[in-house]
Structure formats: C-alpha cells, structure tokens
C-alpha cells in the first residue's frame, strides 16, 4: 500500500510540474497594446507615426492618399489626422483615409485630389 501511495505522490508531482511548466511557457503578454501617435518634424512640414505600444505601425511622412510628397502644414493638422486613424483602428476599422476624411478635417493641401 505504501508503494502505491508513493506512485500517487509521484503522479501528483508530475501533474503539478506539467501545469507549472505550461503556465511558465505562456507567451509573455505585452501590457501596452494601445494605439497612440507621434508627430514627425520634417523641417518644411510635419508627418506622423501611429504606434502600438513601442512599435511603429504606420509612418506617414506625406498626406495619405494624396499624390506627390505633400507634408502637413501644421502640427495640429498632422495630429488630428493621426487621431482619426487611431479612432478607426480602435473601432476595428480600416486605417485607410479617404479624400472625404481629409476634406472633413480641413487638411490644407497644395494640389486638389
């Protein structure tokens, strides 16, 4: 009987070890999953980057969707455009900005779309 009990102890120990191992082996969860933006100063204008935690997700040196290399004229315009991208991402929508989105935000562009 004693030896049987010993085997049960061994089994319980094994299961406990296995359980501990599986918890230890869980991929580390990144605590910072939130989207935020940073303004990029391009000397003669502004761009933005969308970050997810520490990671750059979208880098936008030029106004999205517009032909050529048109930069945002002001920091404020870059910031509100980035804000719209983030709100789309947070809603699980496409981060695509349409000409109508930019018109609604009153983004100054040199060339009309």
């Amino acid at each position: 009987m004693i030896s049987t009990a010993k085997y049960w102890v061994v089994i319980v120990l094994f299961l406990a070890l296995g359980f501990g191992y599986s918890i230890y082996n869980q991929p580390l969860t990144n605590n910072d999953h939130t989207f935020h933006s940073q303004i990029v100063d391009l000397n003669d204008g502004y761009g933005y980057q969308i970050m997810k935690g520490e990671k750059i997700v979208i880098l936008q040196k030029f106004i999205p969707g517009f032909p050529g290399k048109q930069k945002f004229v002001t920091k404020k315009e870059a910031l509100k455009t980035a804000g719209l991208v983030i709100s789309k991402l947070e809603d699980g929508k496409s981060p695509v900005l349409l000409p109508s989105d930019l018109a609604e935000l009153n983004i100054s562009t040199a060339v009309s779309h």
Partner: protein, 330 residues
C-alpha cells in the same frame, strides 16, 4: 495488489507520454521545412485580390475588395522597418483582380474588375515622387490575369474577359508606351494563374478554367520570348500543387506557390527547384487558409498577407523562412 500496481504504472506511463507528446508537438509535427512568423499589426485593412509589386525593400499593394467595396487606396510596407504608409490613391476606378508588376524600378497596376466590367486601363507608379501616370490601355479587357516584368518589358496574359478565359499574352514597352501581342504560349486558357521569376526566367502554372484546375507548367525566356513546357504539376503522385488564386514568389533561387483556392481556400506551400524541375512541400502557411493573397519578396525575404477565406477578408501579414524549422510560438 499487483494488479493495482500495474494500473498505477500505466497511469504514470500515460501521463509521461502525454507530457512528452504535448511538449514536442510544436516542432516535430512533420518533416516539412519552413517557418512562418506573424508580422501583423495592420489590423483593420482587410482586403483580397489586391495588386502590387516589390521595389527595393518596400512592398506596395493596393486596390482590391473588402467584401463591401472595391478599393482605390494604396499602401507601402517597409520590409526593414516593418511598418506601413498610405501612398497616393490609385487614380483609376476602384477594382480588384488587377495585375501588378515592376519593370526597372517602376510599378504598374492595370486591368481588373470594378464590380460591373472587366477593365483595360493601366497606370504606372513612380516610387520616388509618389505619383501615378496613366499609360496605354491593355488592348483587351480582363481580370484575374497574370502580370510580370522581365527584361525591361511588362507582360500580361491569361485571365477572364467577362465571357471567356483567355490564353493570349501582351508585351508592354515602357520606352514607347505600346502593347504588342506576344504569340507562342502553348498552355490552355485559364484565369487566376501564378508566376514566379528565377534568374530572369518566368515560370507560369496553376489557374482554373471551366472548373478544372490546370496541371501544366511553363517557363518563359524573355530574351527569346519563347515558352517551354516543364514537367506537369501532377508528375509525381505526392504532388498537390494544382490550385487557383495562389501567390507565387522567389526566395534564394527557389520558386514557391502558396495558398490559393482548391474547392475552398488552402494554405499549402510548394517549393520548385529549377535545376531538377521538381516540387517539394513546405510547412503550410501558419495563418488562416486563404486565397487571393499577396506576396512581397525582395529575393531574400518574403511576406504573405491579405486575401480571404470564404467571405472573411484578412489583413494579417506573415514572413516566410523556407529553410527554417517550424516554430509555433513566433
């Protein structure tokens, strides 16, 4: 007592076995080589049947269909930086199933389907200026064609014109902005075929016509503009390369055909060795099975993403390491 003891031994043994099996299942599943690493952070721009090209270390993709709308937006994926940028919108009507290819550092997207008609119009994209320019239209409308750049020219062929599958090929000359018909493709008409280019030679295979998945495989030499038949895609019993709506790409001198449609979306991956004209199965794509995806490759690194599985439109991107052992956790 003895009986009970042997029962306990059995349980112990089974518990041990179970632990060994679970701990090994991640890398010893099978012998296929190839590892997939999830790079997706681009949640939200799900679309399929996009078109694009890779220039230097940037993958460009745009147009496509998201299940509700045909799209005109155009994105660039920076391979080194692992981030996206939204570029100048595609200037033509929003569409899917267009072709995209690169010729001497310039990108091209054209043909396709806008939800009503098959299209002929074509555009070039200048990466340095982020601008699109309309070029000469393809002489005959089509969608789900193949397109590739080779030897300073663009080539578009096969596809579906709205009534019939096609087998004709056209050559675009950027120097004088003209399309000329190219004769000599001996394969059957088809749509949703795949190409990849190894050492300047373009390999074409797969695709579907009248519900039949085609098994012929061809190589095109752009310097002589001649097609040569290679061994069929069902030459060996274990081959299962036939499919449609797949992606084709080249890494380190080998060609690959991945994902696609075969009575439903598939995730299998086959590697082509041009020296032996043989196929070898690799680790299947790790993400959801999919068709109408896109592959970006700079020749040494490759990324596969977007596409759809049934009516679910996908937005993720995975990097493929064909020579690595499979790791589940990355």
């Amino acid at each position: 007592m003895n009986k009970r003891k042997s029962y306990v031994y059995k349980i112990t043994g089974m518990a041990l076995m179970a632990m060994v099996i679970t701990s090994c299942s991640s890398d010893d599943d099978d012998d296929d080589l190839g590892n997939w690493v999830d790079k997706s952070v681009f949640d939200g721009s799900a679309r399929s049947s996009v078109s694009g090209f890779t220039i230097d270390n940037v993958g460009y993709m745009g147009v496509g269909y998201d299940g509700d709308d045909y799209l005109a937006s155009f994105w660039a994926y920076d391979i080194e930086g692992d981030y996206w940028s939204q570029k100048a919108d595609f200037p033509g009507v929003a569409r899917n199933a267009a072709v995209g290819f690169e010729v001497d550092g310039t990108g091209y997207i054209g043909s396709g389907y806008d939800g009503v008609d098959e299209l002929t119009d074509f555009y070039s994209y200048n990466t340095a200026t982020n601008t699109w320019t309309e070029i000469a239209s393809l002489p005959t409308a089509r969608r789900s064609a193949v397109g590739f750049g080779a030897n300073g020219f663009g080539f578009v062929g096969t596809g579906y014109d709205g009534e019939n599958d096609r087998k004709d090929f056209w050559k675009y000359n950027p120097a004088n902005d003209t399309w000329v018909e190219l004769v000599g493709f001996g394969g059957n008409k088809r749509r949703s075929a795949t190409t990849f280019t190894i050492d300047g030679l373009v390999y074409l295979g797969t695709g579907v016509s009248n519900g039949v998945y085609l098994d012929d495989f061809w190589v095109f030499d752009p310097t002589t503009e001649s097609w040569t038949k290679k061994l069929d895609l069902d030459e060996e019993d274990e081959y299962a390369v036939e499919r449609s709506n797949a992606v084709g790409f080249t890494v380190n001198g080998y060609g690959y055909i991945a994902c696609g449609e075969l009575g439903g979306a598939t995730n299998t991956v086959w590697e082509y060795d041009p020296s032996s004209d043989e196929w070898d199965q690799k680790t299947s794509f790790e993400g959801a099975t999919r068709q109408d995806a896109i592959a970006f490759s700079n020749g040494s690194r490759v990324f596969i993403g977007m596409g759809r599985t049934g009516t679910l439109y996908l937005d993720d991107l995975d990097e493929f390491f064909p020579l690595d052992e499979y790791e589940e956790e990355d």
